[in-house]
Amino acid sequence: MPNHAAEGVEMTSTASQARVQARHLPALARFARTYGLQIGIICVLLAIWGLFTIGAPKTFLSSEIYAAYMSTIPFFAVMALPLTMVVIAGEMDLSFPSIMAMGMLVFVRVFETTGSVLLSFILCLAAGFAIGLLNGVIVVRTGIPSLVATIGTQFFWRGAVLVITGGRPASLVPIKGTLLYNALVGRWGGYVPAQMIWTVVVAILVWVLLNRHQFGAHVYLVGDNEDSARLMGVNADRTKIMVFAVVGLAAAFAGVLASLEVNYFWVTLGEGYMLRTLAAVFLGGTSVFGGTGTVLGTFVGCFIIGAIEAGIVAVGLTGFWTQLLYGLIIILSVSMHAMVRRKLE
């Protein structure tokens, strides 16, 4: 027995020595562990940009293409950023494209009745927030996996828009030139699309919320280990409900941006955004298993996804190549994330 005991102690001490060695250069290793994925995704962006610039220098060395990017990428980036929080919390939301449309329907109807742009905008955001809140409540109260629950609400709200409108779109031309229009989708300094500024604002807000606020701390904890979080007194249910609500709010906002940009409300608003928004989140290194993910990663991911479509045409390929390259880049990047993550453990 005493021999055995001595052996046991010996074994743990060599094991801990080995661990200390494995943690050699701790500061560097820690830096790599903390920022490795973010550096990786920035490299991917630079590589793609480099290839496009070589393939179509005229296009990619002039400013117009960047103005175009800054006008279109925000429509899904303002959703991808808060959606990152949902994924970090270990959940999924597929209903945001429909929330865009439902929120915008509220906007249109309130504007038709009251003529107030501001009131329309506020109620539109409130509707998005409420629908998101409902998503959260359904997920938390019923225990249905959020992937399934939000497939349901995605159909429901799209259906509601179609039923209420009878499929008829609405013109937003009267809103053109208003203060809200200029603030949301005008061109600042004659060049920078306002929606790009708003995307940066949303990115900063989400970053602060995730990294410097108790709410964000709980988002990470709940996604990492929900049982632990509950045992230590984190209100996991409230945290989850709130991340869904924030995505709902953001989706309504994105719906306003996308509709005002074209001065038209289409009942199909949001269709086509689902996959690229999700792709941007996962490209950015947010783990589908929850607990990890960064705002910077998603931000860069949005630009990769957004750059590909125009880039492909610019370098002389047909638009048919778009999806193939989307797929390739997503598979490569997500594999890279998985491998980097395993290396860092």
Binding site: A5, N211, Q214, Y220, N225, M232, G233, T292
Partner: protein
């Protein structure tokens, strides 16, 4: 007599399973109470009621003479009840400082995190209480890279940091090396000296006997008996526990 903790006629049922039946359980100030019993005896359920994780179906809980209603984990921790769980209750992919302050983050106004203060406190705890001397461990280290003993150290230091008056240790020696176990048992003695109370749950009767003032034996959701460790020899206690597990009776 004023108890630190008093539980009266606690019953709890999970579906078909009656986990606890009319359990009476007290902890005096500065007392270490060992809670023993076979798997499924209801030990974890009982303490998870104290910590606010479960709500009892019937019965009352008093903490320092005050009746606890609608207890939640957050509320229990605020009152001064901290727990080191069997499952450690850590978030593996998060940093050390985020784990230490899990659920009780230090905030400035409006819920904004006081990150600098939490890192500074973590640094202090690492040197002072956890005994982490390795240069590789920092407040920003991810907990996943820690050994079992180090993780347990994190869970214990977390319970101590908030100056709890009642510390609950649920199977704390599980997965620890011999020297780590020794350290843990010394630590339990320290809790008592600091004037705090402790509930100590362990499968290993040797461990419980060596630190507890009193041992409560749970069996199939009921209290089968309790003994002051000064009045009973270790082999007698083991004998009784064995008999309880077999027959449901102490003698």
């Amino acid at each position: 007599m004023d108890y630190m903790l008093e539980m009266r006629n606690i019953s709890k049922r999970f579906g078909e399973v009656q986990a606890l039946r009319d359990v009476n359980f007290v902890v005096a100030p500065q007392e270490v109470v060992g809670l023993v019993g076979d798997n499924g005896a209801g030990k974890s359920t009982l303490i998870k009621i104290v910590t606010g994780y479960y709500q009892q179906d019937s019965g009352e809980v008093y903490f320092k003479g005050q009746k606890l209603e609608d207890l939640s984990v957050a509320k229990a921790r605020q009152l001064g009840i901290e727990t080191v769980y069997q499952e450690r209750a850590l978030a593996d992919q998060q940093t050390l400082w985020r784990n230490i302050f899990m659920g009780r983050e230090l905030t400035t106004r409006n819920g904004f995190l006081d990150v600098r203060k939490m890192k500074r406190e973590t640094e202090k705890l690492m040197v002072g209480s956890m005994g982490f001397t390795s240069a590789a461990v920092a407040p920003d280290s991810v907990v996943r890279t820690f050994s079992g003993g180090e993780k347990q150290g994190v869970a214990i230091v977390r319970a101590l940091y908030f100056d709890a008056e009642l510390i609950i240790l649920d199977e704390p020696t599980m997965g620890l090396s011999l020297s780590e176990t020794r350290k843990l048992l010394d630590f339990v003695g320290g809790i008592k000296e600091a004037g705090k109370s402790c509930i100590f749950i362990d499968h290993n009767v040797f461990h419980v006997y060596s630190v507890a003032d009193r041992v409560v034996v749970l069996d199939r959701g009921m209290v089968a008996g309790e003994f002051l460790t000064k009045d009973i020899a270790l082999d007698q206690l083991m004998d009784k526990m064995y008999r309880v597990a077999q027959t449901g009776h102490l003698d």
